[in-house]
Subunit: 483 residues, 2 copies
């Protein structure tokens, strides 16, 4: 098994496959019909709803199935905001929510509401007190993920739910990443999740809305799923989704312990094996199976290709792997290095040997990418003369010395305009040896990643980041050499 | 095979089942990812899109997959209205569209737009000229089904599309009932369909939007499916859906001929075998596999139960089978009898023996329901003394003579308040013998079905329906005895 991206989508669980096949013959009819095929379908759907509700920790009549986790999030946010529109149109979310939550909240804000994004610490966690400060008299809804999908940090959901309960604001929990590991504790009001994250088929999300929560359906009327999720329900997929949820829950405690050890191995070994790496996310309060790290002077997309060639499938929050050429909003909110970012999320059943092989492959993959970029060596900064190995340099001719000239104030100015991550940071590192101790260097860049990665580089190198200032083109990121 | 409700949902086609199972191992990953599992999933999705587009008759980049036909309709209507909001907010639909179309159009009208419902003739067909009259300068969208889902009548889509094209208004075609039989002809602009109607799995709809059609996505941003359908795509289900579409298309011509003969058999034999039946819908311009008829003096739900006990699964547009206790809007728009309504829609592969057994069972089933309701015999009206067979009457004691008294003008008044379909019509029939030729009778009823069924009874009995007038409670439906 070298697929290490279960946080994106997990392979179909064998139990899900069997349940799907077994219910294809029984679950295709309209469960609202009174004839036998309809009654059989309705029985399957009812039983799946009971089992899902038990796993979620709610009543069966509080839970509906949706066509995806995204639909559950969209419907939940829209329904809760509409249900409390007399209170106001303000929503509160964490800055590191899944894009489905952020997009739904922003769409509501654009339609006349307003939105507060609660910041996170360097581990990606929110502070319950910060939710308390963000809640207002016109707050209709707060949203918080149970655990972060990119860095694995577990959020203080129960504490935030309590803060919200005291203020009479419903809390919607996006439990997509954690529901397979266990129910979400605390007095949440709404909960959304997605079956393909726990080994169920795609096409099944679930939305729980506690009794007493004000909820009003937006959009065209549809009588199915209590009016909360339109469209004909894919009952075999629902049955398979719930069967796999029960199956992974049975294994969850033991598997969490086992995978958590493998993640600890990655967290410990990667910084030992690969120079200039930042492991991000909470080392303790985290998902059992997920770890994320970023590699200085590395192009994330190139690293993913190297790892793919070595049979490892991982994802990245680096800007080069994004359509918008911006680093992941999670890494940005955390203020951590974004270049060369790798997320490893282990599917259930991943063996120690797979992880060890990954650890064996990774250093060479990072080195190869750095070599192609002619990145500075891992030595301390200020030694721009050190270069990539000759073999790699032959593949890609050694680039010219960066264009760097003293500005009018004597400050060194590096022109990295038009260059994408990780080049601006590499160019900074290359010229840094020419900056006198106490002197400053300004990197001109129009790449969004520089805003994150130049301060991160300063932190890793013990240099002082002085901030940014506007420039004729792009932004000037200013660094003072301390040593 | 005694499942005769394929217009509601068709059993999974064997080809769909095989394609689903074959793609479960390849199609679970995120097709947007660059690693091998993602690339494999993307290849499957791309191939399915190409094949679906070919079957629809559009370009692959014009077609997206949605989680259901309902989602395709909702998205298509919302997107087309939003795309042309500068033109105006007026939409035109036929009065007999599927509820997903009507609900989406009404939701848009409630949100500040407006809506015109084009009437249909007694067969359920629209006139292209009526669309022409309904189009206005502020019309943003017109919608028309390819064929009606309740009575099978094929709509003049190509002609209506031409009318719309001349006026610069896009036409959205709901092709849910017909796409398995063949592509929709004509210059339509948008097309929606649903896989479980053609033997694909549930959970897959498709929406085609022709290049050049103004389209703007409403709701939260989501990058998948060209931004037109949010949520993680269920690729194995999509693959299965498209495989079964191709499979049923291969068989379509021969199967259409075969099933159409069976439907003709039903259309011819049912009125011969069962007294007082109205077969509805166009006898020629119709779907090959679908026929609907209504039985006077019959409770639709009771008839469905009788047929279910005899192993036949059919559906009904009678008010008693509806949550809202109103007859199907299709039957209402057509102005045909709604009581004792039965829709028979034959799945592919239905044999002649199955249909003959249905024809053998139906007369007894209808007679049993009529007997329990102590319905008048099938003889000409005016013979209220004739009664149901003694055996059935024993099950349910003979009800008292209806409360009927001459009103102040000498008009006979039947009080059927609080009685549900088909009782008001039965009570009318029972007292009709007491009305002198040329005299009138008024039926007081608060049942919505009476509005449809009393005029229909008049038509079937050759009596004159004079119309309705307000009453202290309910409505008075007035009939003049002609013979």
């Amino acid at each position: 098994m070298s697929y290490f991206d279960s946080a994106s989508s997990a392979p179909l669980h064998p139990v899900a496959r069997r349940a799907l096949q077994a219910s294809l013959d029984e679950g295709w009819a309209d469960p609202a019909r009174l004839y036998r095929e309809g009654r059989r379908a309705a029985l399957l759907l009812d039983a799946a709803r009971e089992a899902a509700a038990e796993a979620v920790g709610c009543r069966a009549d509080e839970l509906v199935f949706t066509p995806s986790g995204t639909h559950a999030v969209h419907a939940g946010i829209s329904g809760a905001l509409s249900g409390r529109r007399r209170v106001g149109g303000h929503a509160v979310v964490s800055a590191v929510e899944h894009s489905s939550v952020l997009h739904a909240a922003r769409a509501a804000a654009d339609a006349g509401g307003s939105l507060t994004e609660v910041p996170v610490d360097r581990y990606g966690a929110v502070a319950p007190a910060a939710y308390g400060e963000a809640l207002r008299a016109d707050t209709a809804l707060a949203c918080l993920q149970s655990a972060n999908h990119e860095v694995g940090t577990v959020q203080p959901v129960a504490e935030v739910a309590e803060v919200c309960r005291e203020r009479g604001v419903p809390l919607l929990v996006d439990a997509a990443q954690s529901l397979g590991w266990g129910p979400v504790e605390g007095a949440w009001s709404l909960l959304a999740a997605s079956a393909h994250k726990w080994g169920g088929p795609a096409g099944v999300g679930l939305l729980a809305v506690r009794k007493g929560v004000r909820y009003a359906v937006r959009g065209p009327a549809d009588e199915r799923e209590s009016g909360r999720s339109p469209g004909f329900v894919n009952i075999p997929a629902v049955v398979a989704a719930v069967a796999s949820l029960r199956a992974v829950r049975t294994e969850a405690e033991a598997e969490a312990r086992r995978l958590s050890e493998l993640v600890d191995l990655v967290r410990t070994r990667v910084p030992e094996l690969v120079p200039d790496v930042e492991v991000v996310g909470d080392p303790v309060a985290r998902l059992p199976h997920l770890v994320t790290f970023s590699c200085l002077y590395v192009d994330g997309e190139a690293l993913l290709h190297e790892l793919d060639r070595a049979d490892f499938s991982v994802s990245s929050g680096s800007s080069c792997t994004s359509d918008t050429l911006t680093p992941s909003h999670v890494l940005r909110a955390m203020g951590v290095l974004s270049e060369g970012n790798v997320r490893v999320s282990l599917p259930c059943g991943t063996g120690r040997a797979d992880v060890e092989r990954f650890l064996a492959v990774l250093p060479g993959a990072v080195a190869a990418v750095r070599a192609r970029l002619a990145a500075p060596a891992a030595a301390s900064p200020g030694s721009p003369g050190s270069r990539a190995p000759a073999a790699a340099a032959a593949e890609s001719p050694e680039p010219p010395e960066p264009a760097a000239a003293p500005g009018p104030t004597g400050e060194l100015v590096v022109d990295a305009l038009g260059r994408r991550c990780p080049i601006p940071v590499i160019e900074l590192a290359k010229v840094f040896g020419r900056v006198p101790v106490g002197g400053t260097v300004a990197v001109l860049s129009d790449d969004e990643a520089a805003r994150l990665d130049i301060p991160a580089w300063c932190g890793m190198r013990g240099q002082e980041y002085l901030g940014e200032r506007p420039a004729d083109r792009g932004v000037a990121y200013v660094v003072r050499r301390l040593s």
